[in-house]
């Protein structure tokens, strides 16, 4: 069927008229803060306590906009006759946000969870030099980093937690097995067994970088448990 001539024109008019009756969907930004999606890339925060000056971020940065200066300090031996150790001390950590292209590779690549995305985006400056954020400013951004979202309930258990839990279960089973013949021991092994899950719990869900640094803490029960395990087995 041939369309009526001019029907397309009328349809165009109808569309604009219908749009006019609807509310506009402009975000009134300076008055109303935008609803940013989770994982928004605003600015990069530095959790400098975690930084070991490994330089991975600076080397991987495609724009070469991360500046790190550091020096080595020797730490005296902990025990008499022991070896002196050297330690990296951070002198300068700066990110030039006038060069940064917000790829996030530095954050991906940091093995010690020292860099994080913050959703703050209002740091425009009138002088381009001001866009180089030094270490203290980057540390300030760290306070604006939101807690990471909780794990999906159906997600696979994180590896560290799974390992710790398995070790704890094994220890408990061993403790229970040894507890049967002698009566007095369960008290001792019974206290050590619940400790392991209690130690893993805070590191596992819902805490961010500083908390996640508990992750290195989680394996500690694991070496501890085999220690108690043979002890229990031999007892």
């Amino acid at each position: 069927m041939m369309p009526i001539p001019g029907s397309g024109l009328a349809k165009g008019l109808a569309v604009t008229l219908r749009t006019m009756t609807k509310r506009s969907h402009t975000a009134q930004y300076p008055d109303v803060q935008p609803q940013l999606p989770p994982r928004s890339r605003g600015v990069i925060g530095l959790f400098e306590e975690n930084c070991t000056v490994c330089m991975l971020c600076a080397r991987e940065c495609p724009d070469w906009c991360i500046y790190i200066d550091s020096h080595k300090e020797t730490v005296p031996a902990a025990t008499p006759g022991g070896r002196e150790r050297s330690r990296n001390v951070l002198d300068r950590f700066a990110i030039d946000f006038s060069l940064c292209m917000y790829c996030g590779i530095c954050i991906e690549v940091c093995p010690f969870d020292a860099l994080f995305w913050s959703p703050e985006f209002e740091y425009a400056e009138t002088d381009i030099h001001e866009l180089t954020h030094e270490r203290d400013k980057l540390r300030e951004w760290m306070w604006t980093v939101p807690a990471p979202p909780a794990l999906d309930p159906a997600a696979e258990e994180p590896k560290e937690i799974a390992a710790a839990r398995k070790a704890a279960e094994k220890a408990e089973a061993a403790a229970a097995a040894t507890a049967e013949p002698p009566a007095p021991t369960p008290g001792a092994s019974g206290t050590s067994a619940p400790e392991a899950p209690a130690g893993t719990a805070p590191g596992a869900p819902g805490t961010r970088g500083p908390g996640a640094s508990g992750a290195p803490g989680t394996p500690t029960p694991a070496p501890g448990d085999p220690g108690t395990d043979p002890a229990g087995g031999t007892a």
Partner: protein
């Protein structure tokens, strides 16, 4: 002495309308256009819904430097905006907004003739601007403007001639006075042709090919800055007011409404003019710009035959009635 006072008062009223109504249309355009595109439109100047936006625009234009290009034809270049704007003021004087002699700037017996002749002068402003700028883009824009305005002058005149035939007079007041409701279906084709051609005369989208800011960078007005550019813009909006008022007077019965024809006549005129101005804005939002050849084709192969057909129909009905 009383006559002088009377004339002065009428001129002041017409001048006030000439300054205020285009601003109202402009503000309406800001808001209507925005909402038709799902935006807000200027919201900040002046507080409530940005009512002072156009005033602020005016202040901004007034602050800007008035530049005349070195090689431009100085006098002509500076006169062009006035030539573009003034005809609309002169037309506004002759448009009746209510019954009787009190509601018109000046009764002119050959009203249609005067109005269309004076509106034709506006073209000269664009041509002067395009030529005097001594710039190939302005020149191109000016020539395109001339081509467009020549093409659309004809259907506009023919459509207006049809109404004059129907009323048996060329006086604007006479036409409104003899308007009957059944003229509406009878003259509808002429009305559409007149309105469309008028839009093209104003170089409003979708007929803004000569000023196409993205293609030939504002056509004839490329070199204009500050207040002179603002005058060209004002001419466009004053043109909308004049075109809508003229269409109201010629085709929609002017001050005649279902009720209150005597006292409230001017309200009907203003209301119809406002609705037509809304349609002008609506068309701008809805349609893309026509190409040069499409533009010419529409004028010569669609509008002019339609206008001629309308004149033929008017003649036949007129003879049949008599």
């Amino acid at each position: 002495m009383n006559d002088v006072l009377d004339v002065a008062l009428r001129l002041i009223v017409v001048f006030a309308a000439f300054l205020v109504l285009p601003l109202v249309v402009g503000q309406t355009e800001h808001k209507v256009m925005a909402h038709m595109q799902g935006r807000l439109g200027p919201m900040y100047a002046g507080g409530f819904h940005g009512w002072a936006q156009l005033v602020a625009d005016g202040v901004k234009f007034a602050q800007k430097e008035d530049i005349v290009p070195a090689n431009a034809d100085r006098r002509i270049f500076q006169l062009a905006p006035a030539v573009a704007l003034l005809p609309y003021l002169l037309v506004l004087i002759a448009i009746p907004i209510g019954p009787g002699e009190g509601a018109i700037g000046q009764v002119i017996d050959a009203g249609i003739f005067y109005v269309l002749a004076v509106m034709g002068v506006g073209v000269l402003g664009s041509l002067m601007a395009g030529w005097a700028s001594a710039n190939k883009f302005s020149m191109l824009g000016g020539l395109r403007t001339a081509a467009q305005l020549l093409a659309y002058e004809l259907p506009m005149l023919l459509a207006a001639a049809s109404v004059a035939m129907a009323a048996g007079t060329v006086s604007l007041t006479g036409i409104v006075a003899s308007f009957q409701w059944w003229w509406l279906p009878w003259q509808i084709v002429g009305a559409l042709v007149f309105f469309t051609a008028g839009l093209a005369e104003l170089q409003r989208p979708p007929f803004d090919m000569p000023v196409a800011d993205s293609e030939i960078i504002f056509g004839a007005y490329t070199e204009y800055t500050g207040l002179r550019f603002a005058l060209f813009l004002l001419a466009e909006y004053a043109g909308i007011v004049v075109l809508c008022a003229l269409t109201t007077v010629l085709f929609l019965g002017g001050w005649q409404g279902p009720f209150g024809a005597e006292g409230l006549g001017w309200v009907w005129t203003l209301l119809k003019t406002a609705i037509l101005a809304f349609v002008v804005i609506w068309l701008r939002v809805s349609y893309p710009r026509l190409r040069e050849d499409q533009l010419q084709k529409l004028a010569w192969t669609v509008l002019i035959p339609l206008a001629l057909a309308q004149i033929a129909l008017t003649g036949i009905v007129k003879v049949a009635i008599n």
